[in-house]
Symmetry: C2
Subunit: 490 residues, 2 copies
C-alpha cells in the first residue's frame, strides 16, 4: 500500500523543505508555538480513528495509546511554551566599548535554525517518538522544516498523523514544504534522506544497527551534519547491600513490574540488575522469579520484534553459566513476549560481551558479583547508558564512592530508589547518554533542551538596532532572558 | 630534539589523565577557576624567554606575541570567571509532584565534564590557540584533564607553556595527569591520541586536511566522541552598491589592512571580496591594488606555510580568467608572503571550485558579479564560513533581503561595515560556523560558551539534598542561576 519514495520524489520534497526553511525561519517564536499548538489540536481531533489504527498496527493497548497521545500533545504544548519563552535561544549581548584599544564592537548572539531536519521515528512510541513526536516538535520549535521517514511498522498511523500536521500547517498558513511524510521500507530511502545536501540535521530513535548506520552516512557526507540517535540501552540497576537487605520483597515487586511494563518495550527497560552475592540477593532473585512467573505474556509491537526477542533471549540463555531463574507460567501465544529472568555470576558477565547487549523485551539478567570490587568493575566496564539506577540507603551511598563515580560516568540519568521506566517530560529531564546509548552525549531527546539539537549560534557584529532580530534588539521587545555584558537579565 | 611519543608513552599519559579525571571532576568551580588563574600567572612569569622563543619559532613580531600572551591570560581569567559563575552549567530543577498520576519525581540536571580532552593547537596562535589556549582553558573549566599534542612548528614554545601549566598544577595541588604535553610530528601520534579509549573529546584548530582526517578517525572509533575542529575559511565580504559608491577609498584602505594583517595568517582573513560590476567597483579594485603595492611582504610562520602560500597563490592566479590586480612592489624575501590581489568575474568564480578555497596568507580575490542575482548565487553557492561581512547602507540592506538571508545561512558571525579580522573574546562571540569552517556549527571555540563543547548533562532523579552536587542543592549554596520549575532564578 505504501510505496518506497523514489529519489526524484525525495529530491522534490527536500527542495520544498529548503524553500520553506527560508520562510519559516523568519516566523516569530509566537508563530512557531501557534503552529505546534495547532498540531496538538489536530492530533486530538483525529479521535478514535487514530487510536484504533495504532492499536491494529502496534498491538499496544488502547489505554496506553490514549496516554501516549496525551503525552505527545503535552510535548507539543510544552515545547511551544519553551519556544515562546526563548530561554533556549541563549541570547547574549556585549555592548560596544569604543574607547577600548582596539575598540570593542557591539556583538550579539542567538541560536538560529539549522535547516531541514529529517526525523526517523521509533516503533515503540508510535505517537510520542514518531511522526509528530519529540524530534518533530523540537525541530519546529527551532525553526526547521521537518521530513519524517514513516516507520514501516505503523505506516497508516503515521499517515494519519502526517495529515493532521499538514492540516495544522494549512490553518497556520505555513509555507509549502514545512512538513513532509516519506514512506520507505528499504534502507536506501533513509540513506538518500540523510545524504541529501539540503538535509541539515537528523533525529533518530530506534535500534543501534539502524542508528549507527545512518550516523556513519551522516559523517561520510561531503558536508557532515549533526546526527542525534537515541539507540536504547540496558539500563543497569545496582542493588546496594543495606538497602537490599531491608527491602528484598519491595524491590523484587517493583522490578517485576518495571521489567515487564509495556512488554518490556521501553528504551529505559531495566535489562540488568547487579547485586553482591548474599542471602539477601538470593532471596531477591527468588522473589523476582516468583513475581515474574505470575505475569502474563503480552503481545509485542510486531512480528519482527517478537522474533528478535525470542532469538536474543535464547542467545542470552545459551551463554555458558547463564541460568534461567524464571519465566511466566503462561506460555506465550503468537507474537507474545514471555517475561524472563536469568542470572549469571559477575566474573562470567565481565568476560562475555554478549551479556552486555540489550534483549529488547521483558527480560532481565541478574548479575551476582562476588564482592563490592567486582561490582565496581562491572560499573566501569559497562557501555554508555540512558539511565542507571541505584537502590541504596544513605550509608550505602556514603560507603561506595568509587562505585557511584563509575556509575555517573556511564549514564545520562541517575535514578535513586526508583525504576528507570517512565520518562518525565520536563526541562530537567535528560534522555541521552554516552555512546552507544546515543551518538552525542551532549544532547537530549526529551525535554525542551532537545530543541538545541537543531539550532546553531550566529553572532551579529556592529549591526544597528533596526536590523537586528527582535530577540537581540536593545529594548528586548520579546521580554526574553538574555545575558547582557555577562549578566543574565530580562 | 623532540621525539615522537611512542604508543606506550601515550597509553601511560592517557591512564594518568583518566585517573586525574576522577579526582578533578569533583573539584569545585572555585578550585578550577583558581587553577586557571594560576596558569595565567605562570604565563606572565615566563617573561621574555617565552616571547623570544616564540619569536624564533614563529617569526611573529614581538609586539604581536606580547599582545597574544595578554589575550591568552585574559582568556584564562575570563573563562575562570565564567566557570565560577556557573551559567554554563545549565542547571535545571523540577521539583516533585507526589500527587500527580503517576507521581512526578524530583529531577535535577546539570552539565558535567566528559573526560580527558585532547587538544591540537594551531601554528598561527602559538599562545592563544595552542598549549594554554582557548581549548585548554575550556576543558579545564569544564572539569576535564587536558592532553596537548605539541604543534611541531613551535615545540619549544609549547614546552615552556606546558612547564608553566604543570607548575600551576603543582601549586594548586592538582592530581597527577591533569595535564600532559605530547610531542609528535607524525600523523600517527595524533591518531593514537584521538583513537585512545580514554579520550572523551577533542579540540582542534588548524587546516582542513588535518582537521577532517582527525574528525574521521574520531567517528570511526568503537565509541565515537565529540570532535570540534575550527578549520578556517575564506570569510567573504559583500560590497553593496550604495555603500561602495559612497566610500570607495575608505573601504579599499580598510581592506588592504585587513587582508595583510599578520601576513594574512588569520583564520578570519578576508580572502574573498564580492561586488557588482560598476564604476565604483573598478575604482575600488584600483584603490585596493594601489594600497597593496605599498605594503611590504612579511615573514610567514614557517617554511611550510610560506611554501604553501606560494603554491596556492600560483594555483589561484593560474586559473582561467583570473587576473592579477596588484602585488606588493617589494619582492618577497625567503619565507615572506607577498601581498596579492586578484580578480575574476562572477560566472567564472561560480564554475571553478578551486577559487572557493582558502589561500592562507596575504591574498584576496575580488569577484565581479554581473548583477545582484549573480551576487545572491555566489552567496548561496559558498561553503560554510567562520564569518561573512556586509558593507552596506540601510537602503542596501533593505533592498537585498534574499542576499542577506543567503549570507546568514553560511556563516557563524556576520559583520556589518567592518572587517572580520579581530576576534573579540566575549560571551557573545561566535567563532564557529557551518562545515567546513568547523566540524559542528553548534559550538564555538572563542568565548566562554566554548566550555560546553566538553561537558554533557546528567539528570539526578529522586536524590535527597545531601547527596546532590552543590550546584543542585535546594538552598543554592553557590548562588548560580538555575531554571527551577521552568523559571530562571538565582
Amino acid at each position: 500500500m505504501f510505496k518506497d519514495a523514489t529519489t526524484e520524489e525525495i529530491n522534490a520534497v527536500m527542495q520544498d523543505a529548503w524553500n520553506a526553511f527560508h520562510v519559516y525561519r523568519k516566523f516569530s517564536l509566537q508563530q512557531r508555538a501557534d503552529f505546534m499548538r495547532a498540531i496538538a489540536f489536530e492530533l486530538e481531533e483525529c479521535g478514535d480513528l487514530l487510536i484504533q489504527t495504532a492499536m491494529k498496527e502496534t498491538n499496544l493497548p488502547e489505554a496506553r495509546l490514549r496516554n501516549e497521545r496525551s503525552r505527545t500533545i503535552y510535548q507539543l504544548e510544552s515545547y511551544a511554551l519553551a519556544c515562546e519563552k526563548g530561554d533556549w535561544l541563549e541570547a547574549r549581548i556585549d555592548t560596544a566599548i569604543p574607547d577600548k584599544n582596539p575598540p570593542k564592537p557591539d556583538i550579539r548572539k542567538m541560536l538560529v535554525p539549522m535547516g531541514p531536519v529529517v526525523v526517523f521515528g521509533s516503533s515503540n512510541f508510535p505517537f510520542a517518538y514518531s511522526t509528530a513526536g519529540g524530534d518533530t516538535a523540537s525541530a519546529f520549535a527551532a525553526g526547521c522544516p521537518v521530513i519524517v521517514k514513516a516507520h514501516p511498522a505503523h505506516p497508516q498511523t503515521s499517515a494519519i498523523v502526517a495529515e493532521a500536521i499538514l492540516h495544522a500547517a494549512d490553518k497556520c498558513k505555513m509555507p509549502k514544504g514545512i512538513f513532509a511524510h516519506v514512506n520507505g521500507i528499504s534502507f536506501e530511502v533513509g540513506k538518500t534522506l540523510v545524504m541529501h545536501p539540503y538535509t541539515r540535521a537528523v533525529g533518530f530513535t530506534g535500534s543501534y544497527t539502524g542508528g549507527k548506520q545512518l550516523f556513519d552516512w551522516a559523517n561520510q557526507r561531503k558536508e557532515p551534519i549533526p546526527f542525534f540517535a537515541e539507540m536504547g540501552s540496558v539500563n543497569p540497576v545496582f542493588l546496594l547491600p543495606e538497602k537490599l537487605k531491608s527491602s528484598v520483597t519491595e524491590i523484587a515487586t517493583l522490578y517485576a513490574g518495571s521489567v515487564t511494563l509495556g512488554v518490556g518495550q521501553f528504551c529505559t527497560n531495566p535489562g540488568l540488575i547487579i547485586g553482591i552475592e548474599s542471602g539477601a540477593l538470593q532471596a531477591f532473585i527468588h522473589d523476582l522469579g516468583k513475581a515474574i512467573q505470575s505475569i502474563t505474556p503480552g503481545t509485542m509491537l510486531h512480528q519482527g520484534i517478537a522474533d528478535a526477542f525470542v532469538t536474543k533471549r535464547e542467545e542470552a540463555l545459551m551463554q555458558p553459566d547463564v541460568h534461567l531463574v524464571a519465566e511466566s507460567a503462561a506460555a506465550p501465544l503468537e507474537k507474545q513476549g514471555q517475561p524472563t529472568i536469568a542470572t549469571v555470576d559477575g566474573k562470567t558477565f565481565l568476560a562475555n560481551p554478549v551479556l552486555h547487549k540489550e534483549v529488547f523485551g521483558p527480560y532481565s539478567l541478574v548479575v551476582r558479583c562476588a564482592d563490592k570490587n567486582e561490582m565496581i568493575k562491572v560499573a566501569k566496564y559497562l557501555e554508555g547508558q540512558l539511565t542507571a539506577t541505584v537502590m541504596a540507603t544513605g550509608a550505602d551511598i556514603n560507603q561506595n564512592d568509587e562505585l557511584m563515580e563509575a556509575i555517573k560516568n556511564i549514564c545520562g540519568r541517575l535514578v535513586l530508589n526508583g525504576v528507570p521506566t517512565g520518562v518525565e517530560v520536563c526541562l530537567s529531564m535528560h534522555h541521552g547518554g554516552p555512546f552507544p546509548a546515543t551518538t552525542d552525549a551532549r544532547f537530549t531527546s526529551v525535554g525542551a533542551d532537545a530543541i538545541k539539537r537543531f539550532a546553531r549560534p550566529i553572532a551579529f557584529q556592529n549591526w544597528p538596532d533596526e536590523f537586528l532580530p527582535d530577540e537581540l534588539k536593545n529594548d528586548n521587545p520579546l521580554g526574553i532572558w538574555r545575558t547582557v555584558n555577562s549578566e543574565l537579565r530580562k
